[in-house]
Symmetry: C2
Subunit: 150 residues, 2 copies
């Protein structure tokens, strides 16, 4: 595990805001030269604190505007690893979490439309670890923030 300081956090903060910012731009904000920023970014990538860089797209625009949250109730005791192995076979799974409470997991589904969502749900319910599901369809996305603030 890496020990990070304020400088690293501020660099990450800049990259969260704009992953295509140049090292010089970032350096100007955090008070470092461009090569110094690059070496820190490389180190953060190596250590796994930074996993990579991605584009933020409008799901609606790409035709993936229909979402749902599904509480997963499994048959008997199923390990998180097995749940993961099963749910990652569905491309519509945007995220999956094991949780406290009655449900075993919460699945975030993302699909093109209601029919696509229904099809994904059917395939999810057909997994042999699944006993029952409780779905909540998303009507609108009020807010979505990048993974980590500041």
């Amino acid at each position: 595990m890496l020990r990070m300081n304020t400088l690293d956090q501020r660099i990450i903060s800049q990259l969260l805001g704009n992953a295509r910012a140049s090292y010089a731009e970032i350096g100007k904000v955090v008070g470092l030269s461009a090569p110094a920023v690059k070496r820190r970014v490389d180190r953060l990538l190596d250590s796994g604190v930074l996993r990579g860089f991605t584009a933020v797209v409008d799901p609606q625009a790409l035709g993936w505007g229909t979402e749902a949250f599904v509480e997963l109730h499994c048959r008997g005791n199923v390990s998180p690893t097995r749940i993961r192995a099963h749910v990652e076979s569905l491309p519509e799974v945007a995220a999956a979490y094991t949780v406290s409470g009655a449900a075993d997991a919460i699945i975030h589904l993302r699909a093109a439309d209601i029919h696509h969502l229904e099809s994904a749900l059917e395939r999810l319910r057909a997994l042999d670890i699944v006993e029952s599901t409780v779905s909540t369809v998303v009507l609108s996305t009020l807010l979505e923030r990048p993974p980590v603030p500041q």
Copy 2:
């Protein structure tokens, strides 16, 4: 609304995989010159299909490893806009959705630890639109995929 073709989708796909890829690299994959790629990316940014570029960080590594999903039940009829206005005042809100079913919204909370999460939940419940909440604490993240596949 913008009409997009396969070329745009492939460019977006490349940027989803690596937002810091050079235009020349992207162009080599999709069969375009670097300036042509840049023109399309600029147009996608202008039109809002591409919202920007961000870093993918390990929340654990930055000390934001504790998450929860909260079903929000509001007093009477509250518009999505008002819900949004209220919940975005909490920095711990990672995402918020209006949903079908009994709850009015689902809030995705992200905090440093259980105590931080508890504090965020208290502030959420203190909002005057909120009648009651049902929280589900995330035990582990099994899977998290970028916003849009392919």
